[in-house]
Each structure stands twice: as C-alpha cells, then as structure tokens.
Amino acid sequence: MTTAIHIDRFVDAKGQMCPMPVLTLARAIKELAPGQVLALAATDQGARRDIPAWAERTGNTLLDEREEAGVLTFTIRKTA
C-alpha cells in the first residue's frame, strides 16, 4: 500500500481532447504554489504520454499515474 499523497487541487479534463488536457494542466499548475500537488483526470488516450512529456519539459514532478475504467489520473507536484 502506498501512502496517500495529499492533493491540493483536482482538475477534471475528462472528455477533453488533445491538446486541451495539456493546456488545462498548464493553466491549473500556474495557480499552485511550488510543492503543491494536483491530480488531473483525463479520458484522452493521448494524454497517457502527453502528460509525462509535459512534466519532463516543464520540470514538474509526475508522482503517480494510473488508469481506471478509461479514466487516466495523473498526480503532479509543482516543482518549478
């Protein structure tokens, strides 16, 4: 069992299609303070690789990614 990470903000990007999940995430992360964590839910299958690529590029940390019933959930900590 992994210890639960406290989520500061939940972003619902379900139903959004590329490039919107990444744009929604970029917009939401601006409102976080460094160190805070947000969780993003998306149904766009492209997000599976897009979100990690975004995190890598922007220097934010992808803490967790999981899929359940077609919904991808990414947990990201704002580092930059």
């Binding site: 139903g15 959004q16 299609m17 590329c18 490039p19 919107m20 990444v22 744009l23 995430l25 970029a26 917009r27 897009d50 690529a53 975004w54 590029r57 922007t58």
Partner: protein, 204 residues
C-alpha cells in the same frame, strides 16, 4: 602506535612499474574526463534555449489544415516553449476576423477524406458545405475537439505569437483591420531570424 608513512625519497620504482602506473592513470583520467565532458555537454544542451523554441509556418486555409498549426502551437506553449506561428498565403484565412469559423474542406480530389467520395459527386454544388459540416460535427465536435476559435484563444492565452505575412496580405488585399487583434505583421526575414534559433521548425 605510529602509522606507517611513505617516505617519498625512499620510493623508487622499477621503470616497468612506473610505466604501468602511468598507463593506468592515463586510462582512468581519460575515462573520467570523457565522462565529465559528456555530462557537461548534455547539461548545456538541456539548457539550450533553442530546444524550447518552436517556429511554425501555416500556409493552408482549409478546415482540416488549420488544426495542426494551432494544436501544435498551443501544446508547445503549454509546455513552456516560446512559439511563433507565421501565417502566409491561405493561412491568412485562419487569423482573419471571423475567418476561422468559415474555413471549409472540399471532398473533391481529397482521397484521404474520412468518408471517401468519388470526384464526380464531390464537384456537385453543396458537397463542400456538406463535407465541411460533417468534418466539424462528426470529426471534431463529436470527439470534443476544440474549435479553431477556441484554439486561437488558447494560443493567445499561452503567449503564442501570431504573425501575418506582409507579402501575402498585400497580394491578397488583406488589411490590418481584417485581422484579429494582437496579430503582428512581418516578412520572411523577420520570421527566419526567429526560426534560425528554433529547434523545431514546421511548415504546414
């Protein structure tokens, strides 16, 4: 207890041992130095601003071809990259006031269309509006893809620079007032200057 010390002056090595030691040190130093140089170069390349710069030329004015430049531009900007999109020729339609919502796609001579249609049908009056409507609703709206206007808003929100080609404007009789607010006007040299620093340059 006295620790054994190594008195340099007493230490004389046979020439063979000297040579072996020297060779070994050389090999290790070269390896380590090579490693350090690789690390430094990799770090410098990651820091290279060109890696974070995207230059896109949008030259087409059909509904299907307006999407790629805007999707790529907004996604790149959301990833923190510096993006400029240069709209030239038919691409100017995309950044005209009200232009984006009037873009069309013709089924004629477009064998890649999702619903293939023989050209002899495609040329009938009404087929282009039909194909346009089908693409907008079945292709895009049904799958929740943003509209071109929405993508243009996103581009602006994320700081994408939209640039209209001066020459195309002159040739096609497009005035500054015909274009959306916030669009800059420039020529090829200006764009190429920016593109020369961009790691990613796309012609669409």
């Amino acid at each position: 207890m006295a620790t054994p010390t190594l008195d340099r002056t007493d230490l004389t090595l046979p020439p063979e041992t000297e040579r072996l030691i020297r060779e070994r040190v050389d090999t290790l130093a070269a390896e380590r130095l090579g490693q350090l140089v690789d690390e430094r170069v990799a770090a410098a390349m990651r820091r290279d601003p060109a890696r974070n710069t995207v230059a896109i030329i949008a030259s087409k004015g059909t509904l299907d071809m307006a999407y790629p430049p805007l999707i790529l531009a907004s996604a790149a900007a959301a990833m923190g990259m510096e993006v400029e999109v240069f709209f030239t020729f038919y691409g100017l339609e995309i950044i005209k006031r009200g232009g984006a919502s009037h873009l069309k796609v013709a089924p004629i001579a477009n064998p890649a269309m999702p619903v293939p249609m023989p050209n002899i049908l495609g040329m009938l009056p009404g087929m282009t509006p039909l194909a346009t409507w089908m693409m907008k609703s079945r292709f895009f709206a049904k799958h929740n893809v943003a509209t071109l206007d929405e993508l243009l808003d996103q581009c602006r929100e994320f700081g994408v620079k939209l640039i209209a080609c001066q020459m195309s404007m002159d040739v096609m009789g497009v005035a500054r007032e015909d274009l959306l607010d916030g669009v800059e006007i420039a020529g090829a040299a200006t764009f190429l200057d920016f593109a020369s620093t961009a790691h990613t340059t796309l012609f669409i």
